[in-house]
């Protein structure tokens, strides 16, 4: 059905936007590199494809005059989420352009800000593109060309948003979201795992790193005691 299809595409777009946001956060920081810029490009291109793909059925659905009120409300909800997502994507793309221009990778006297983020973000980009592994195949001056292309893409996305708004008129104030306040707590599948322990918090007795260290230590201690007993018995 059209609604499920739209919802699935919207979820994919949402995922791509979130991953792109996460990648843009690290531009200009210590994790900035050629690879990151390449990942950014791939992610945003995927996001744009998804945006175009989602926009078409939504537009046709909403322009269909003969739809029931219930279904129309549903589509309007999807539309509001879709246009919000597109706005977020465009804002992040603009930020990426500004930051990319301000922190060029190969400039001699413009060092990157040492933020403490060191690892690669290949996993994030792979998630956005829904592939298992990501290959990096960019040439040396990738970022300069990429910025030019990014500019063009920003204009394209802006134009797309404008066209969509012209075609479909959904008054925002009439849409009521389905999720209530606190809805995110219901499906937080293990998101509160120990991975998010901030520096000042202590998670109590079940800290896995501490437990691991304790078990390893006790095992080594037992082994040492056993060896000592054996040696004592033998000698």
């Amino acid at each position: 059905m059209a609604r499920e299809e739209c919802k699935a595409l919207l979820d994919a777009l949402n995922k791509a936007t979130a991953c792109y946001h996460h990648l843009v956060l690290t531009i200009g920081g210590s994790a900035d590199s050629q690879n990151l810029r390449e990942e950014l490009q791939k992610t945003r291109q995927k996001a744009q494809e998804l945006a175009v793909a989602t926009g078409a059925p939504l537009t046709t659905a909403l322009r269909d005059k003969g739809m029931g009120a219930e279904e129309r409300a549903e589509f309007e909800r999807l539309w509001v989420a879709f246009s919000g997502c597109l706005d977020l994507l465009e804002a992040d793309m603009r930020r990426a352009l500004a930051l990319g221009t301000a922190f060029p990778l190969h400039a001699p006297r413009r060092p990157l800000v040492r933020t403490g983020v060191a690892g690669g973000a290949a996993g994030v980009a792979a998630r956005a593109l829904s592939v298992r592994n990501l290959r990096h195949e960019a040439e040396r001056n990738f970022d300069a060309d990429d910025l030019r292309e990014l500019e063009r893409e920003i204009l394209q996305v802006g134009k797309m948003i404008h066209d969509l708004e012209m075609k479909v008129n959904v008054p925002r104030w009439t849409v009521q979201a389905r999720q209530a306040a606190g809805a995110e707590l219901l499906f937080s599948a293990g998101a509160s795992s120990a991975g998010f322990v901030s520096v000042e918090e202590r998670t109590g007795p079940c800290d896995p790193s501490k437990a691991l260290a304790a078990t390893v230590f006790s095992a080594v201690l037992l082994a040492a005691v056993a060896l000592a007993v054996c040696v004592a018995k033998l000698s």
Partner: protein, 481 residues
């Protein structure tokens, strides 16, 4: 959307015009702070970096407060106090954040470690924090802390849920996806990014009690770099020409002339000013004795000497004082030119009176003063008379203004000097009394001592009569003994 290369990072020419429409600019102090932070990153000449050791993970790129201060002193050749202040500004604006207690506002000089904020989260007026982003952040925090948000965050969360209710689906979806995307990174990076985001929101949505660094006072908008340049077309130049012409036409007085007049006024009025010269008998506000007001009432029978003297300063003073005006009227009657003053008074009444009475009043004035052969005909020159009679056809409030001015100047040049030289005026001056100072009563059980209030402008040493009073009236009560 041209992006010209700029010296300060993060300054875009076009600006995010989609949000709001008007092109924004980065505030100058923020650009300066960014430049300082970027120069701190130099691998050879930047700040010394240490590592932060957590249990298993080691996260690089931490600095101590003292390193930062030392670097600032060395680079900019400033004193330690100033360097500390700069460091505090950097922390407060979110360019540096403390690793242990991100909410503490100052820069500790001990072993506390700090880290630099990522450029995406730098404080910016070019990219102001949006409600949607804040909502997504709060939702993420809600998920991570399993619903245990801080009070003010809970409040904001509820408010936002009401305000942007229509995009709440997007908020929830994005929050979940962003958390899942973050899981793809290794633990150290995840921690750092979470700290960065937390610092960003501590600066942009400060908790209650913490002053917001982004708040500009009223009328501070002109601090922004003006990038809007007026195109130099014909309208612009026409405006400029108009401004200059108006400026040329303004009357300019030489400052020497102005200042002379000012000095003259000050010296003339100084003895009459209650603050500069004290008021006799006593200041009613201090001694609760309102003789001063009673004796200086508008329509008092016997005016004080100071008042009578003031009539001599200018004609305007004389006419402004009702007693003076009455005496002047008496004088004019003796000289048989009282109709001038009456005419002037009638014109004043016309000017300040009610709109409905204007036609009748104009008519009566005409009949009494201006008509040929009138009972109290005033002597106006022919040109003014003609103009006035013309104007009388369509009477309005200011129709008699020319005539009034003429008569005023006549009285001022002619009758006023004679009045000042007349016996009447001299007699008034002689009769007028100077009010005596209220005597100090020495009875010990007097609660409120009545003494004259010398001028508070006088320095205490010069008070000869009342050394206690010179320290200020209220203080005198204590020294009464």
């Amino acid at each position: 959307m041209p992006i010209p290369p700029r010296a300060s990072p993060l300054a875009m020419a076009a600006g995010p015009a989609s949000h709001g429409g008007c092109p924004r600019a980065q505030m100058p102090h923020l650009s300066k702070m960014e430049r300082v932070v970027v120069s701190m990153q130099d691998p050879d000449q930047g700040v010394k970096m240490r590592s932060q050791r957590l249990l298993i993970t080691v996260i690089p790129h931490a600095v101590t407060g003292s390193d930062v201060v030392e670097w600032l002193i060395q680079k900019y050749c400033i004193s330690e106090e100033e360097a500390l202040h700069l460091g505090v500004l950097l922390v407060r604006h979110g360019y540096l954040y403390a690793l242990r207690e991100p909410r503490s506002p100052g820069l500790q000089l001990d072993e506390t470690l700090y880290r630099f904020q990522t450029p995406y989260f730098w404080t910016s007026t070019l990219w102001p924090a949006a409600e949607l982003d804040y909502a997504i952040y709060l939702a993420k925090k809600n998920i991570r802390k399993q619903g245990a948000l801080v009070d003010h965050e809970k409040e904001h969360y509820d408010q936002l849920h009401r305000k942007i209710n229509h995009t709440w689906d997007l908020v929830v979806m994005q929050a979940r996806e962003q958390l899942r995307a973050a899981k793809q990174r290794r633990k150290g990076d995840r921690l750092v990014i979470a700290c960065q985001e937390q610092t960003y929101w501590l600066v942009n949505r400060p908790p209650p009690g913490v002053p917001s660094v982004l708040e500009q006072g009223p009328g501070r908008g002109s601090g922004m770099a003006r990038r809007v340049q007026m195109t130099k077309n014909t309208d612009f130049y026409k405006q400029e020409i108009e401004c200059c012409t108006k400026a040329l036409g303004r009357i300019r007085v030489k400052s020497s002339v102005c200042l002379e007049a000012y000095l003259k006024f000050s010296s003339q009025h100084r003895p009459h000013d209650p603050i500069m010269s004290g008021c006799l008998p006593s200041n009613p506000w201090i001694t609760d004795d309102d003789t001063y007001w009673a004796m200086n009432a508008p329509n008092v029978a016997a005016p004080t000497k100071l008042r009578v003297e003031r009539w001599g300063f200018s004609f305007r003073e004389l006419l402004a004082d009702p007693v003076g005006r009455a005496n002047f009227m008496d004088f004019l009657r003796k000289e048989f030119s009282a109709e001038n003053l009456s005419f002037w008074e009638a014109c004043e009444e016309l000017r300040h009176g009610g709109q409905a009475q204007i036609p009748t009043l104009v008519d009566s004035v005409y009949q009494q003063f201006l008509a040929p052969g009138a009972a109290r005909w005033v002597n106006i020159d022919s040109q003014t008379m003609e103009r006035t009679l013309e104007g009388l056809r369509q009477p309005h409030r200011y129709v008699l203004e020319d005539a009034q001015l003429h008569i005023y100047m006549l009285m001022k040049k002619d009758s006023y000097p004679r009045f000042l030289k007349s016996d009447m005026y001299k007699g008034l001056l002689a009769e007028a009394m100077i009010l005596p100072e209220t005597k100090r009563r020495v009875f010990p059980f007097m609660w409120k001592p009545r003494h004259s209030s010398l001028s508070p402008a006088l320095p205490p040493a010069s008070a000869s009569v009342e050394p206690v009073a010179a320290a200020g009236g209220p203080g005198g009560a204590e020294g009464e003994a």
